[in-house]
Assembly symmetry: C2
Homo-oligomer: 211 residues x 2
């Protein structure tokens, strides 16, 4: 119930970085929102980039946990991919700043990619592992004949855009389709993605699957 200062800092920093971006957030603002002096931030994180890296790593770790358990729960590539998508959507829905933070990070390759910050390389490796696992599932699905012979990297790019962007679209998405993080909107998004995968990637034959 009472979080440590470090966790409090990470929480407010995640929200702020997602909302205004790396360059747009001042450490003063983060410190104030965390109820600390600005100097205290540097006791927990040596630099601003390190703080950002820690925030990012925590977000990716949450996704990793969910998707790994989803992938481990079933052997069939079809069911694995669906479970992974559902897990990703659930994680993004439970942590509203996460989606925007992830996409923003992809765009910050100028200020952050030199990456002498250990937290950032850790987050990077974590994400690489995750993507590699998904790629393996899709490849297995293609080889087994369950999926069409699609381009795996392109399919992953498509999925990231189609799944993550809507949860990051904020006011734009709200104006377009109403409250993004309502239970109905989340359910609609799951259905949207799952049917897209089902008809777009999977072979039409042997449609009914069993656990």
């Amino acid at each position: 119930m009472l979080p440590t200062s470090r966790e409090k800092i990470l929480d407010v920093a995640e929200a702020r970085f997602a909302q205004r971006g790396y360059a747009g957030v001042g450490l003063r603002e983060v410190a104030d929102a965390a109820g600390l002096g600005k100097s205290s931030l540097f006791h927990h994180f040596p630099t601003k980039a390190s703080l950002y890296g820690a925030v990012l790593d925590r977000v990716i770790e949450r996704i990793e946990v969910r998707m790994q358990s989803a992938l481990a729960a079933s052997g069939d590539p079809r069911a694995q991919l669906s479970a992974a998508v559902v897990g990703l959507v659930d994680t993004l829905a439970e942590d509203p700043p996460a989606a925007r933070l992830l996409l923003r990070t992809v765009f910050e390759d100028d200020d952050l990619s030199p990456s002498e910050t250990p937290e950032l390389v850790a987050a990077d490796q974590r994400l690489d592992r995750l993507i590699a696992r998904i790629a393996r599932v899709i490849t297995a699905g293609i080889e087994s004949g369950a999926f069409r012979p699609i381009s795996v990297p392109d399919a992953i790019q498509t999925m990231i855009g189609a799944i993550v962007f809507p949860f990051a679209s904020g006011e734009f998405g709200k104006k377009l389709a109403g409250e993004i993080f309502s239970a109905e909107a989340i359910a609609r998004r799951k259905r949207e993605i799952l049917t897209l995968i089902e008809h777009g990637w999977m072979r039409p034959n042997s449609q009914g699957e069993k656990s």
Copy 2:
């Protein structure tokens, strides 16, 4: 061959804003890259937000022109939607900073959405009109029975993410799928999106269409 100062400023500002974001770009940097003093920027644009708005409006206008001519060229919702997608991809491919600028703008609703900047409201209205046109095409497709009864706003969100994000993914996308703006990569993305729409949104019957 010799662009006016205003156009030169817009060109370099578009690249910079796309790369580093609104808050991450200093006007000094833009002025230097344009071969001007910083004060000269304020002769052409009254504020930084106004410059950003002008850049954004120009990008959206390019997309609007392409998609409007694509939509006007054919009456069938199926062909219209496909042509619009191809037009969007082509525009994004010809103007590499555009995709990242568009997505970044969606995320900047804090610093930019109050929108007392006329260029920004112009860009907003332009985008609204464009989205409304696409929505009408999809709705027509559903009513004619050519498309499945999908949720139009969710479908649009999906398409924006799936089409725009890959072209905005920079180093991340490059690591995943190689050079993003190569002719082959662009062709792959068109195919990816078109087959996704064909199988995911359109009804399977009467597959062969004619002009």
